[in-house]
Subunit: 280 residues, 2 copies
């Protein structure tokens, strides 16, 4: 049997009891930590589980499905992922590869940023399409996520913005060489994301700026959701672009313009601005 | 300390290790099971935890915050909820009540239908606003959820439809009496939900029917997500309205018209129709 097990978001004890029982009895257990990260290193997980883990890095997950799934028809093999197994397309694809090989699979669900984001008090059912904000470089500055935020705002939906993670990215220079060299890991901060968003907002015409999204619009910056050190701040885009929320991972929410009184009351805990009647 | 602990979706072992440790050491532990249900009875949870639970029914949760929170400034009290603590407005409100009373709180996240719905293979980030489909009666047939599904379809987003749950609803006749009597619990099925949806679709004009949503549109029926007996079926609205998915809870997804090839490949596992090039 092949098991895809979600680890949740925080520390080793965020695994479910069901997940832990499976981890303990599997022949091989792989740990995937490049589409997201936990708040603890691999060694801490190994100590807690009382067993060694095989690190499944980007190369192994994207090209090594055969290796990971090998023998899973006869023995128990698990792949551990941060959050919930259906959070990343990579994992959905993995299940299809298992099916192709006629390997039975089971999924153990857990919290992921897609539902834990409710911790800021904005109601989950009112979120529209989720966007990803990618790191810009000198030549590549995609801004299509802005149109999705705009559409959500126009129809009074909140937007969760997932911020870019660069783990085990080959350096451009090494791509041509036999031996890849990797860039140091980078995790986009809320400040970086809001700076990029402000750049886009400034490019758009004045009318749109004033009605849909502008530098005075509210946003929610979240860091380390589900960890003991979780931090949430509510402020304007302009102020948020100068705010340091500490270590990774960060997430950003652009709330709908009209919020329920309970949502406003909840967000107010994290704001210095008076949110009642705030309308930008 | 007041703890709000998510139980996940399936059986007692879906609680996290962190959640279980807290449950074991609390002075009082309440179990809320009217906004959703687990796949097991209260007694099974009590046996697994090795401790008694206090049932927090609708009346106690909505009017008894004082009772549940009583003493939580000095001792540990927990409220267990199905799924994740931020899945229902009631629980968000509970946290605000704790804050008012200057009671510290902690949340233990878990999977909820809002992220576990990814099990059908549709990508979570492409879901738009979530809708709730309420039971109709002779005089009250609300259909505002249809406009939200339509908006999501127009902008190529999937829609998760949460189906009505009636637990501990007073009978209309008993509302005037001193002693309330309750209706038997009811859980809306995928068949009932699609029947209501078909009724709305038939009322709309022919043009709209043909382009946005009609009886040949695809939908995904899900039952008991996260349980061992989980069942997923992909079919047209018309066929789904005649399909029995077994015991509760049921959920329904109306996919976007354009899907990613990986989404189509995943859904195909649950369909007898050929989904490639299907376009209704």
């Amino acid at each position: 049997m092949f098991y895809l097990i979600g680890l949740g978001l925080g520390d080793p004890t965020d695994i479910t009891v069901k997940g832990l029982e499976i981890v303990k009895r599997c022949s091989r257990v792989y740990l995937e930590m490049y589409t997201s990260i936990l708040g603890c290193p691999q060694e801490e997980l190994e100590t807690f589980y009382g067993r060694p883990l095989l690190l499944a890095d980007r190369d192994l997950v994207e090209q090594g499905a055969d290796e990971i799934l090998s023998g899973a028809a006869e023995e128990d093999v698990a792949l551990l992922v941060v959050g919930d197994p259906f959070g990343a397309t990579t994992h959905t694809d993995f299940i299809l590869r298992a099916k192709e090989k006629k390997i039975q699979y089971k999924v153990v669900h857990n919290a992921s940023i897609m539902n834990a984001i409710g911790c800021c008090g904005l109601q989950l059912y009112k979120f529209g399409e989720t966007v990803s904000i990618p790191y810009w470089d000198e030549t590549w500055k995609p801004d299509s996520f802005y149109d999705k935020i705009k559409l959500n705002r126009l129809h009074n939906m909140h937007t969760l913005c997932l911020l870019d993670i660069k783990v085990k990215e080959p350096t451009p220079e090494s791509l041509m060489r036999r031996r890849k060299e990797y860039q140091p890991p980078r995790f986009m901060t809320v400040a970086e994301a809001t700076q990029q968003l402000m750049t886009i907002v400034e490019k758009k015409d004045a009318l749109e700026r004033n009605t849909i999204l502008n530098e005075l619009s509210l946003c929610v910056g979240l860091a380390r959701v589900g960890h003991d050190s979780q931090s949430i701040i509510v402020n304007t885009l302009r102020e948020m672009s100068q705010t340091d929320l500490g270590g990774p991972l960060h997430s950003l929410v652009i709330p709908a313009k009209e919020m329920h009184p309970l949502e406003v009351e909840f967000l107010q805990q994290y704001a210095t601005l008076k949110l009642e009647d705030y309308n930008h």
